[in-house]
Symmetry: C2
Subunit: 405 residues, 2 copies
């Protein structure tokens, strides 16, 4: 997508000057032109680009001159266009209540260290994607009780606890090339505050009084933990199959996505077919989301805004490598043996990885796979009654993969 902005390079604030200058800025995907306060989207590459654009060119002053690529004028103050932000706008009053509940429940009268650590993570403004899925599912299914708020907060607490423990896991292995959140505190705080958030999530999820909801979330918690351990033992093992990879992905990501959507349907009391559809949507969306993340890990940092090669350094067998291994030449197999199985990595190895991935077309293949899961997610929605939120969830599935395709 190309964004064309008329700009005055000399800084002269006159119409004449504007007509002399055109700035062509190509962004990978521009869904957002306005960075909304409080939505916490700053960790997305495209939004960071948009911010820089505002900063350097101060386009807001000339917003009337900004056009979208199809030539129509477009205001920088227009409502957010990214599917997640559409959802966030549609669910804004609910999400405000979720945020209140998160702040309230992460407080600890006895141990002030707890809100310090959690505030660092929670106020940093994640996307709140997971709680939004619960709110969306409940609202789309016509729920009008109070408990979708509790369950959305539950889901965010579980996610945050997992992040805290992941930091410890990654740092203790000392394989990550960039600072982790727990550098600000210590392993001890990360482990214990993570445990506290798990316990809190557990208190929250009991409140709606639904044993079925508890069953779903308990099973998700077990799948998450099992997936994390499986990832640990599958790392460094070149024999890791796509089936094992999928189990890891379900544990890391999809289990919480599918639980988030499923419990929304369950508290709304919809029928079994609809509950299954919500589960299937969350599961496929989560798998697509994680596959895209695994592709981005081998992407161009300029485009992705993330360090490349973390998974390689951590010797994780993600799908791009599994696919590349399947068609490796003897030299390439020896390369993977040395770098992943034995962990003997040298300068320049990452360039070699990029070359192998390019030769084998592994990143494109995984992207196709992710597109397939996104399509499955959309298909799952088909049996649900028409609803504006249903359409946004469909767009979200597309968007998740559009980041790289």
């Amino acid at each position: 997508m190309i964004l064309i902005a008329h700009h005055d390079p000399a800084g002269q604030d006159s119409d004449a000057a504007f007509e002399d200058a055109h700035v062509y800025v190509q962004l990978e995907a521009v869904y957002t032109f306005a960075v909304q306060d409080g939505l916490g989207e700053c960790d997305d590459g495209d939004v960071v680009c948009a911010q820089k654009l505002f900063h350097i060119l101060d386009l807001r002053r000339y917003s009337a001159f900004v056009h979208s690529h199809d030539g129509k004028p477009m205001s920088l103050d227009a409502p957010a266009q990214k599917p997640q932000e559409k959802l966030a706008a549609a669910l804004a009053p609910d999400m405000a209540r979720v945020n209140d509940m998160i702040r309230q429940r992460m407080a600890s009268e006895h141990a002030p260290r707890i809100p310090e650590v959690t505030a660092h993570l929670i106020d940093a403004g994640g996307k709140r994607l997971r709680p939004m899925l619960t709110l969306a599912a409940a609202r789309m299914c016509g729920y009008d009780g109070p408990y979708h708020i509790h369950l959305a907060a539950t889901v965010e607490f579980i996610h945050t606890a997992t992040l805290l423990h992941d930091d410890v896991v990654d740092e203790s292995a000392q394989r990550r090339g960039r600072p982790t959140a727990n550098l600000l505190w210590d392993n001890t705080s990360s482990v214990l505050v993570g445990d506290y958030l798990f316990a809190r999530s557990f208190q929250l999820m009991v409140e709606p009084g639904s044993l079925r909801v508890l069953d779903i979330l308990a099973n998700a918690a077990a799948t998450i933990a099992e997936g994390e351990v499986l990832q640990l033992t599958a790392a460094q093992d070149l024999a890791t199959t796509e089936e094992t990879y999928l189990k890891v992905v379900r544990g890391k990501t999809a289990a919480l996505f599918s639980a988030a959507t499923e419990v929304g349907g369950v508290i709304a009391g919809v029928d079994e077919a609809h509950i299954k559809a919500l589960y299937d949507y969350g599961d496929a969306l989560g798998i697509a989301f994680q596959m895209v993340d695994d592709v981005i890990d081998y992407g161009d940092p300029e485009v992705t805004g993330k360090n490349a090669g973390d998974d390689f350094r951590e010797r994780k067998l993600t799908l791009p490598v599994i696919r590349a291994l399947a068609q490796a030449t003897p030299e390439e197999r020896a390369f993977w043996e040395r770098t992943i199985a034995k962990g003997k990595q040298h300068d320049g190895d990452l360039d070699q990885v990029f070359a192998i991935l390019a030769r084998t077309g592994a990143l494109e293949a995984v992207t196709q796979e992710a597109l397939g899961w996104a399509a499955q997610a959309k298909e799952a929605l088909a049996i649900l009654p028409e609803h504006p939120i249903r359409d946004m969830l469909g767009d979200l599935a597309d968007y998740v993969v559009a980041r790289i395709s």
Copy 2:
């Protein structure tokens, strides 16, 4: 208590020789003469003494000659006399089912590392004190359904998960003078397998289908996590009050004890007064238990079988130090400032600690306090209907403190 055994010092196996010799062996507290296989009691100082006794004198050959201190003959093959072992004997069929369930539920089809790590902890044979409390409460209240087994396993899983995470916390701080269990694996495994056990405990506790049970266990989990964080922040702080200490103790120990007994009453469906009594018993027992542990940490290793001074090295403000601080001379206060607040510890400091504790009578004072809590635990039992298990629970409260008094 004095155990008198007739013994033949010359090794002559004749009645005449026996009558010549008396061996007076004073043990601190002899509740057990027979060390039962599989009960895993070998970590208790007195039982270790008893074992040594058997080994050196081979008393079993002359068991007819062993008398208790009141002069009655006593067989070495008599049933175990320690309250915990009486409970274990009374609850043996239930406990066997709990052990089966633990083994079954800690298995992971996908991640074999999980049972490896948990087996190390669970098969090592802890006392199983906490699950026994649940079984005891349920049976004493006349429960005859299947779910006390699930809840007992739940409680043991929560306890084991906490131990795994404590190991990480202690090792990452590198203050512990002895090897921790997670030396066998790594921090990563301890964190993740701990999370897995939490998740599993959560699945187990959902099965009885009681929201009240879930509420109790969720609150206990939050209290445990909060107590751990509070302990972390209270460490090194000489201003720590007895009130804060008590909160830490409830988090570390008493919350799981009281939840263990309370849920036993809840699934048995007894009235509120009895449920409260069970809670109060568990709470007071847990506090007494932890206070005794904190005294033992400053005890003679020859007697306790444990390293002395771990809490001092970890700069934990436990009750003995809080009491000693309350009556510290200016020199002593400077000593605590240096060693605990600033963490500058030298060789010989621990001897200085022992001297201060002796001068101030702090250990005796804390022992008295623990005796008070044990008495409260017994009082709480008074309103419960008469039952052999009730008496064993009463004896257990005495025994917990008898270890040091």
